[in-house]
Symmetry: C2
Amino acid sequence: MRLRLQDFFFDEENGEVIIEAEKPGIVIGKNGVTLREIMKAVGWSPKAVRTAPLKSKTIENVREFLINVKDERKEILKRIGERIHRGTIYEDRWVRVTFLGGSREVGRSCYLLQTPESKVLIDCGVNVGNVHQSPYFYVPEIQPLDSIDAVVITHAHLDHCGLLPILFKYGYRGPVYLTPPTRDLMVLLQLDFIEVAAREGNPTPYESQHVREALKHTIPLDYGVVTDITPDIRLTFYNAGHILGSAIAHFHVGEGLYNIAFTGDFKFEKTRLFDRAFTNFPRIEGLIMEATYGGAEDFQPSRKEAEEKLIEVIKRTIERGGKVLIPTFAVGRSQEVMIVLEEAIRNEVLEPVPVYLDGMIYEATAIHTAYPEYLNSHLRDLIFHQGINPFISESFVRVDSPGKRQEVIESSEPSVILATSGMLNGGPVMEYFKAFAPDERNTIVFVGYQAEGTLGRRIQKGWKEVPLPSSGGKRDVVTINMEVETVDGFSGHSDRKQLLNYVRALKQKPEKVITIHGDENKCIELASAIYKTYRVETRAPLNLETVRFL
Amino acid sequence: MRLRLQDFFFDEENGEVIIEAEKPGIVIGKNGVTLREIMKAVGWSPKAVRTAPLKSKTIENVREFLINVKDERKEILKRIGERIHRGTIYEDRWVRVTFLGGSREVGRSCYLLQTPESKVLIDCGVNVGNVHQSPYFYVPEIQPLDSIDAVVITHAHLDHCGLLPILFKYGYRGPVYLTPPTRDLMVLLQLDFIEVAAREGNPTPYESQHVREALKHTIPLDYGVVTDITPDIRLTFYNAGHILGSAIAHFHVGEGLYNIAFTGDFKFEKTRLFDRAFTNFPRIEGLIMEATYGGAEDFQPSRKEAEEKLIEVIKRTIERGGKVLIPTFAVGRSQEVMIVLEEAIRNEVLEPVPVYLDGMIYEATAIHTAYPEYLNSHLRDLIFHQGINPFISESFVRVDSPGKRQEVIESSEPSVILATSGMLNGGPVMEYFKAFAPDERNTIVFVGYQAEGTLGRRIQKGWKEVPLPSSGGKRDVVTINMEVETVDGFSGHSDRKQLLNYVRALKQKPEKVITIHGDENKCIELASAIYKTYRVETRAPLNLETVRFL
Ligand SMILES: [Zn+2]
Ligand SMILES: [Zn+2]
Ligand SMILES: [Zn+2]
Ligand SMILES: [Zn+2]
Ligand SMILES: [Zn+2]
């Protein structure tokens, strides 16, 4: 029997050979016959996994790195295991959370969950608006850094994991719990973060070696897997519906003593990519939730309205022979828009038009294809049972060189281009923008939030001329004649109504709800609305404050 | 010229000879002539201080000890000085307080004031109701203990300073700031605390050597003296009107950055002993205030009513040939009652009757006489200008031996007895109680709060028979026929109205008011009343929480 096996991996820790194959069924064989034959021949227990249809360089590198450091990892895991099972000391019973970043602000999310026995850090993010402002690492609660028992990363966005490597730079050597997709996306985004900084001549807060050090200490956990992470805390991840692998981190403290969940960023609505955020916790007394759109006026259009508007804009642009430029972040929004376009083309709502993917979007999409089990039930059904993987539709064309980019720009055919960055503050999107802006047949469509001070925001506001740094160091002035559209409703965050509904949908009504990850007034307004609606204690703490739960 | 000088002390640190004299004016001489002569003769600059009219063993011991360790103290002060002037490091500007004990409870007061540069611990008390419950010393905010820059003690009651020596037992070696009377009263009460524990066969949390170690690190500050205590914090004490030397600790952070005051226990009413608490802070943005009587119903009778009732009760007891037993704490309430009785006798409102002082009351009174400048203006006027010192009235008779006590008990003459402890849970008061209770001509008068579970409380409730441990280990049952009276209004704490008035009386309206040192509902009700009355942000935090001020 000859199989086209993509790759073999020997996992000594688990005594397994991992065999990647496009069709794992063939490796397994009828009733597992083939697997057993392989085991007899090589003396190892083989495990077949599906080859991702798009090849991700990140996943390849991560896997290779982890294999190279497997002896060291074995030592690390042993040490972590000993620490987890060190036994408890204190008679006191309390649970508290210190807010080290990301409170009454969006950015640098970082929270310390503490009991007499344990210190668990949840997220460790960059302040995207001000890269020089990190979480409050220097406060005594987490000093020395190695007094932290465990770090938990809710998802791969940089405002949640962008400064994780700094912990390793300054001496943390404990575990990092996250989902497998979060691990891969995180590495991709962290490396990009320091590359971009270096390219722009900015000091980087850490080096790639610290990204690798962090990676070495990761412990991936799938949704629903219950794990002891300290002598008195058990962690379980649940789907947050925000981006691939995004998790709500649920902590069970003591034996039935207290249960507290950090939502991270979450979407309480089924999207094109994900099921809506999990609510069915067996117990939950404390809830720490995001409030990005927690303001009294923060209602968004439905997904359906958003999609219809997007298709409409694309249609009319194509009809007049123009090109559609959609600036997006690489992770999440891009894939969401891809699925909408693929379905519209497949169902002939939209004529077949090339959709170009530039920047990290292709790589991020490849990672999505490696984790189909993290997608929503509809996509899983399409992929596993109907053999349709929307991500590998031939409508999508990767732009992976300056030459190819130039070709796309100069082509006279209508097309759609998805390119990073999402707010036009750098990245390949800038090239397209410069070329397309003067032609009134073209359209730029914003599908994500444009922060104050970004070029994206200025264009949204209706500026007709914008200065841009040109290659020669001088400034070009770009005249904007293209159509400018904004399509709200694609957000990966819950809007005001979804946030409130989420609290209502929880199986157990929490005793205390804390609002974070939102501007000051959003956090306060959401806390106040939850208090008024459900009569549970709420708080919108400040950074550096500590709130007690038990 | 021959002077009867009481004592000489050479203070090498300041290059001074301290000369104690009953009449310092004689030592000083006309225009300071005598002082200059002494200086010529001995080569030292002499400083005359008043000999206290009552001799305090505590003060004598404290002074002697400090002289013995003066070389070591010189080293300590040098080290402290270097640390204070170490310079600042951080660009961040924030101020926060962590509540380590005494929040939503009375007892184990302990608060950490923190800036990026500094850690200052305010108070370090015993939980009087449960001696095994200390403040949360083990949390990372104050670990290791020597990361604390300074400890500030607001007053000498054990719920504020009773566990200070534990800090030294476990490695703290920094300064302890307090007023001079607080220093002396504190040593008296701490030594008594461990003596009583040892006598009752209970484990003591520390030994007398740790009391001495703490004493060695004290830095006494008078009211109104501004002192650098860390690179970015200046401390000033102000009169709190609660007990001798009790202080409101005012902290000036940064150069004009933020001002925050801890009231400690305070009385916002002029009493027999003290002026009312200070309000005239140049600036105050944050206020942390006690809430012992912060409940919606916590109004107390006026001082005048209380005094009239007390005199009335004593009069009628004496008229029927009985004895009046007043259980009191040694510090504060005793001296308050003494002043009332002395004035009543001096003004012939009450016939001259012996007032016996048993327990630590005499010693505590002696310490009061050493610090006349800490008493209110009326007493200072009496003592300095009219030559009347009520504390040394011949009506007061010290009981300093079991024989003397027996004599007082067996005497057929009417008398008043002030004896410790204040809640009848031990101390010499028990002997008097056993002897007096069966005789209906006698009266017991409660002038202080009787905690639930104490014998005092049971008697107040009207129990007619109470079991008492007898000397032989068996239990005597004591029948109570004596009159039982309670006189409210002598409290050293502000009542509800005074608490609210205090906030109003502040020169600058604070931005944030925190209520502590009260039962849960008192703290919450006071916080709510202050918010509603003055529209300033208020909070009643839990132990282990951290509140940010700037
Ligand atoms: Zn996110
Ligand atoms: Zn986020
Ligand atoms: Zn007190
Ligand atoms: Zn107190
Ligand atoms: Zn100074």
